[in-house]
Amino acid sequence: MRYLPLTPDDRAAMLAKIGAPNIDALFRDVPQSAVVNRSVFDLPDTQGELEVERTLSRMAGQNIAAGSVPFFCGAGAYRHHVPAAVDHLIQRSEFLTSYTPYQPEIAQGTLQYLFEFQTQVALLTGMEVANASLYDGSTATSEAVLMAQRSTKRPKAILSGGLHPHYAETVETIANLSGQVVRAPVTPGKAEDIAALIDNQTACVVVQSPDVFGLIRDLKPIAEAAHAKGALLIAVVTEVISLGLLEPPGRQGADIVAAEGQSIGNGLNFGGPYVGLFATREKFLRQMPGRLCGETMDAAGKRGYVLTLSTREQHIRREKATSNICTNSGLCCLAFTIHLSLLGEEGLVRLARANHARATALVDKVSMIEGVELVTPNFFNEFTIRLPKPAAEVVDALASKKIIAGVPASRLWPHNRDLRNLLIVAATETVSDEDCDALVETLAEVL
């Protein structure tokens, strides 16, 4: 087996040194009745690279890759162009095959990029501090709600109807254990009256902007209403490229920002791994979940970086930890950091404008189709349209013509009949003029 360096002679010599007659002697604490033979497993034997590659390539070939067709899916995961340098750099052995930087003297590479990542996230979101990432946007949102419940010592979390329903369900699953989650009604293309739901038991209000339909939300009045009752505003962003063009949540009164960072540096990957961004105000620093990287000095007086404030964490605090999280999304953070470094201020702003311009042009064309109505009056690179028939049927019809038209709202709310004609369409910089024309023409045909 090509990954196993020990030879039969090595194994014999090692057993002799140990003083064991055979390998079974080393497993003597395992009850005999629990030891199984090779024949128990209905699984194949060792295969070479060629065979494995053949098997997996065949599976991959049964999927329609986004880059091979006109492609308009968003709803929490976005296809952007990632510069070639990003994937090359994250595959360097020193990044790819290192562990969590618990020995800072020989992990400054990882620690310094985490410090850069934290700074980038704070700047983008307009917040004071950010952590070294969480698993993804949905789990970052859950952790934000738990943190709000901890900080305010109040039980209730109010979720906007525009919050991605997978995020809402993830939050409900965990935050209902110690508190109470209230979901506001789903109002596509409009802001619900969420302020009316806030009371003196409310720990936080969770609002996504742009929301799951693509609508840009006004966070300021919600922040004011929440703060007036002693509650926190958690702003959720699933498309971080939007922050190149839109006012950041930190400037609109958000207390915590939980975001999905996939759009920068990371591919679609069928939903994961992604990278959860988590930023807040300095006063909540010690309530934060997840790893934090901090600046310090070494014994020779040189600047260096370490993981810090670990007294919040599970390996020190055990059952009293702020969270059970033991990892971050290391390599995905690195991809984010490198991509954003390549973009810089100028590149990010241009990219954001290109996205908005692409979506605007598509809206103008799609709205011309008879029976199609724009639901979201303002948007960034994603919008929702109402079709004259169920969107899932239309998406399937277009998929059979090799056009992936977007995410039907019924995929996210299968039980809500009011939403079944809604189609959520994303148009990023990766969509070409030809792609848009193909969508518009074919959509007109099938409607």
Binding site: D45, L56, T119, E345
Partner: protein, 522 residues
């Protein structure tokens, strides 16, 4: 003059004498590197994107009014910056990484290549299901391998890391108890457990009751059984345990918790010692997470991303979280909403958006297919053999707290051999850095004072193990001979000397700020 194994002088004095401070501050291949924010200029970018005109019409009143503050760099500058940073890192590709309980084994590059096939890397989680049948087939095949290797009937694939898997397992247990109409509050966790175990149990709403360890490094099964009662929801055991030992009374403990109506959660972090040889399902396990980044070698990536699927017993399977992967007549389908679940299932909720760590699934299946069932068993045996070889080769100079018995895939030492030498456990570990090694896991498990946990994995050749043993023996002998020079303030030859962690925590600096505007960036 002391010589290393290649016959090169290794005395620190020799280097001190010849060292001349450089003009640049760099030293040969070791470059100092500023923060990305200290580089770059306004208006420069490393990505060419056309400037397009847009109006505010569709943006509402929400257009950004202030600059973000990101630096501008060209591509060559960014590439050089991150290449230089990379060279400050230790990595398994560059050397033995003996971190006990972390399993730093070889990361085959085939797995990276497979994960980047456009049919896996460039598909969207919400595109029509008929266009991702190959991806669903891959998940289904991985589920088959995981259930077969563990002897368990079901698996929840979606948790994104080991601790997330623990949470998934405990929430499944909670849901199963609720379905029985029972409210049980206590979870028994051994004192030797990973910190995530008690943290997860608390997060899942249980109170944690600690079970002591015996003198010989096992969970005290008698104490555990004495604590069992009708309010015990589950026991959470790691097996092989964190002392690197298989729990010989594991089935007895499983039977005992079942007898009082509780469940057995197994922390599967150490499954790599027994995969292909022992099936946790045969030991009475009800739920166990599998760290794909440990046992099945998806890269650690400097701290993630991981993946933590949870295998489940028949009793727990109906409560597994959404989504559910089902086989319809001739196609695979993901059920994402509670309103569509088949009868007999009652998912407790959802762990995350979409459906898990696909990128990690591809890598793990690529690893499994490459090894095969025979190779997985061989890998486990080699990992155990290598750990025992280290134990046997070092126990006369270092101290092994649990005597002469064999260990599993990790060899545990304690610091009693350093007593009265003036060399601390930390000094000893940091001196390993100067010798070109990543230190072993220190001060864990907590049940052993001054623990040093070494996990060589199956990826090391005998020559590599012998060299490591030679260096550790020499270090131990020097420490015991009262020669602390090498250890004082080590490491001497790393990119940084010891870092002041106390100062970092006392006045945290967690981000860069422009020098002209200290503390005023907001």
């Amino acid at each position: 003059m002391p010589m290393n194994m290649q016959g090169r002088p290794s005395a620190p004095e020799a280097v001190e004498h010849t060292e001349i401070p450089t003009i640049s501050g760099d030293r040969g291949l070791d470059h100092e590197e500023p923060l990305i924010f200290e580089l770059g200029r306004e208006g420069v970018t490393g990505v060419d994107i056309p400037q397009v005109q847009i109006s505010d019409e569709r943006l509402g009143a929400f257009r950004r009014r202030n600059p973000i503050g990101l630096p501008g760099l060209s591509e060559p500058e960014v590439v050089r910056h991150y290449v230089r940073l990379s060279r400050m890192n230790y990595a398994i590709d560059a050397g033995l990484y003996p971190l006990g309980s972390c399993t730093m084994k070889h990361n085959p590059r085939l797995n990276e290549k497979m994960a980047r096939l456009p049919g896996f890397g460039d598909i969207h989680p919400l595109q029509p299901q008929q266009t991702v049948q190959g991806a669903l087939a891959l998940i289904s095949e991985l589920m088959r391998w995981l259930t077969a290797l563990t002897g368990m009937p079901a698996v929840a694939m979606w948790p994104k890391a080991g601790a997330h898997g623990e949470l998934c397992g405990l929430l499944t247990i909670r849901a199963a108890l609720e379905a029985r109409g029972e409210k049980r509050t206590r979870v028994l966790v051994p004192s030797s457990a990973h910190g995530t175990n008690p943290a997860t149990a608390a997060l899942a709403g249980f109170t944690v009751d600690e079970v002591p360890a015996t003198e010989d490094g096992h969970v005290d099964a008698d104490a555990l059984e004495a604590k069992l009662g009708p309010d015990v929801a589950a026991i959470m055991l790691t097996n092989p345990n964190t002392c690197g030992l298989f729990e010989p009374r594991i089935k007895e403990m499983a039977d005992a918790v079942h007898a009082v109506g509780g469940y057995f959660y197994c922390d599967g972090a150490n499954f790599n010692a027994i995969a292909g040889r022992v099936r946790p399902g045969d030991l009475g396990v009800d739920a166990m997470h599998i760290n794909l980044h440990k046992t099945f070698s998806t890269p650690h990536g400097g701290g993630g991303p991981g993946a933590g699927p949870v295998v489940l017993s028949a009793a727990l399977a109906p409560y597994a979280p959404l989504p559910l992967l089902v086989h319809d007549s001739n196609e695979l389908r993901v059920i994402e909403d509670r309103s569509e679940v088949p009868s007999g299932t009652d998912p407790f909720g959802r762990m995350c958006a979409f459906h898990g760590q696909m990128g990690m699934f591809v890598r793990a299946l690529s690893y499994m297919l490459s090894h095969g069932a025979d190779g997985i068993r061989q890998a486990s045996e080699d990992a155990v053999l290598s750990a025992n070889y280290i134990l046997a080769s070092l126990k006369d100079v270092m101290s092994a707290p649990f005597g002469d018995g064999p260990c599993m895939h990790e060899a545990l030492f304690d610091d009693s051999f350093l007593e009265d030498t003036g060399v601390t456990t930390l000094d000893f570990a940091k001196a390993m850095i100067d010798e070109g090694y990543h230190p072993m896991t220190m001060y864990f498990p907590l049940v052993v004072h001054g623990a040093m946990l070494i996990e060589p994995t199956e990826s090391e050749s005998k020559e590599s193990l012998d060299r490591f043993i030679f260096v550790l023996r020499a270090l131990a002998e020097e420490a015991k001979a009262g020669k602390p020079e090498r250890f004082d303030g080590a490491p001497h030859y790393a990119p940084r000397r010891r870092l002041d962690e106390t100062a970092a925590a006392r006045k945290p600096i967690l981000r860069w700020r422009p020098p002209a505007l200290p503390q005023a960036a907001e």
